[in-house]
Symmetry: C2
Subunit: 217 residues, 2 copies
Amino acid sequence: MSSYVEENYLKAIYKLTERNKDGAYTNDIAYELNVKPATVTESIKKLGEKGVIHYEKYKAVTLTEAGKLIAIKTIRKHRLWEVFLVEKLGFKWDEIHPMAEELEHINFEELTERLANFLGNPEFDPHGDPIPDKDGVFSNNKSVKLTSLALNTTVVMTGIENHTPSFLQHLDKLGLKLGVQVTLKEIVDFDKSVLVSVNGKKGFYLSHDIANNILCK
Amino acid sequence: MSSYVEENYLKAIYKLTERNKDGAYTNDIAYELNVKPATVTESIKKLGEKGVIHYEKYKAVTLTEAGKLIAIKTIRKHRLWEVFLVEKLGFKWDEIHPMAEELEHINFEELTERLANFLGNPEFDPHGDPIPDKDGVFSNNKSVKLTSLALNTTVVMTGIENHTPSFLQHLDKLGLKLGVQVTLKEIVDFDKSVLVSVNGKKGFYLSHDIANNILCK
DNA sequence: TATAATATTTAGGTTTGCCTAAATGTATTT
DNA sequence: AAATACATTTAGGCAAACCTAAATATTATA
Ligand SMILES: [Mn+2]
Ligand SMILES: [Mn+2]
Ligand SMILES: [Mn+2]
Ligand SMILES: [Mn+2]
C-alpha cells in the first residue's frame, strides 16, 4: 500500500478512535475516505497483515503503536503545512485543508523538521489543533466546549470541532477567531442557543450547534 | 494516468527533446524514469491518445502544446520549491532535488503563485536554471560553457549542466558557486583540462569534464 | 427468540502502472 | 543485399486500490 493511501487510512482510523475508543468501523472509515465499505475491508485486512492496525473480522479496528506513530506523524506534517500556508503564504483558515491533505504525504524527515523550525516550532495549527512534536507527543491542552460553560463565564476561544469552510467562514463573519474573549451571557432554554459577547462588545446569539463546535479555555 | 506519473513522463520528454530536437526515444525515457522500455511504450501510447504528446509507432515522441505547458508548469513548481528549500529552509543545493521531485506534483495554482510571490518571484533556481513564469514563458538567458571560452576571459558562473550531488559537492569544495568570477588562464593541450582562477585568487586545474558542465555569462 | 435491519465481508471485475519474454521493426555492418 | 545488432512493440502477468452485487454476521426489535 502506498504511503499516500496508508497514511490516509491510518489518519482516519486515528480520528475515529479518538471519537469512539472501541476503534474505527468499516462504514465510518469508508465515509471518512470517500470509498466503499468493501474497499475498506480489503484495505484494513492488508494494514493488519502489515502490523499497523489490529484487525479482526467484524470488529472495530485500532491502531498498533507503529500505526499510531505513522498517523500522528502525518497529522504533524498536515498541521505544520497549514501553519506555513497561513503564516507565510497568507491563506485563510478555510482554504488550507485540501492543500495540507496533499502536502502531509511528502515524507522527508529533514524537510518536516526544518519546516517546523522555520515556522518557530508552533504548538497549534491555524484551527487551534495541537501539533505533536517530532516523537509524536502532544502537549497537554484541555479545552472545553462553549456549550459546557456556566453562565457569565469569560473564556478565550482556542479551537473548533468542525473544519468545514462554511463554518469557518461564518465564524469569520461573526468575528469569532482564535484568541478572542468570549463571555457567555445567556442560555436560551427553548433551543439551547447562547448569547455571547466577543471581546466585551455587544452580544449576539449563536445556535447550540455552532456553540457546540467552539472550544475555549 | 495520474497527474504524478503523467507530469514525470512529460518532464522527461521535455528534457530529452531539449537535448535532441527530433524528440524523445523510448529507451531514453525509460532510463530517465527508471522503468522498462515496454512500460514506456504503453504509457506514451496513452499520453498520445490523451493529446499531450505526438506518438507514432517506432518514432521519437514530441510534446504537443498542451503537453509542453504541463511539462513547463511542472518545472516551474520544481524550481520554485527548490528555491524555498534553499532560501527558507537552509538546505544545500545538492540535497534538494529528491524533495522537489515530490513537491512539484502538488497542484494548486494559488499555492504555486503565492509561493512564487513569497520567494520574491525568483528567475533562477539554486542551480542557476531559469524559472518559467506562470504562463510558461522562460526569460531569455544565454549562457555558455566554460570550455567554450577564449583564453584570459573573465566571466561569472551562472549555472551547471550536471546536477548530481557528487558534482555539486565537488564544486562546493572548490569554491565554485553561482555568482563567482572565473578567469580562464590556461587550456592544457594534452587533455583539454583548464586552469581557472576564482574571484581573482590562486588558480587551479579543472578537468575538461568538469569545466564542460559549468555555465557562465 | 425469531425476525428484521444494518454492518461487514466475499466474489468477481476494472484500471493504472509496472514487469519479463518474445516478436517485430529499423539501422548498421560486412 | 544479407546478416547482425539494437530499439521498439506486443503478449501475457501482477499488485494496488478501487468498484458492484451477493452472501453472511451481528445487532436491534418485535
Ligand atoms: Mn491526505
Ligand atoms: Mn487544521
Ligand atoms: Mn517528480
Ligand atoms: Mn534545479
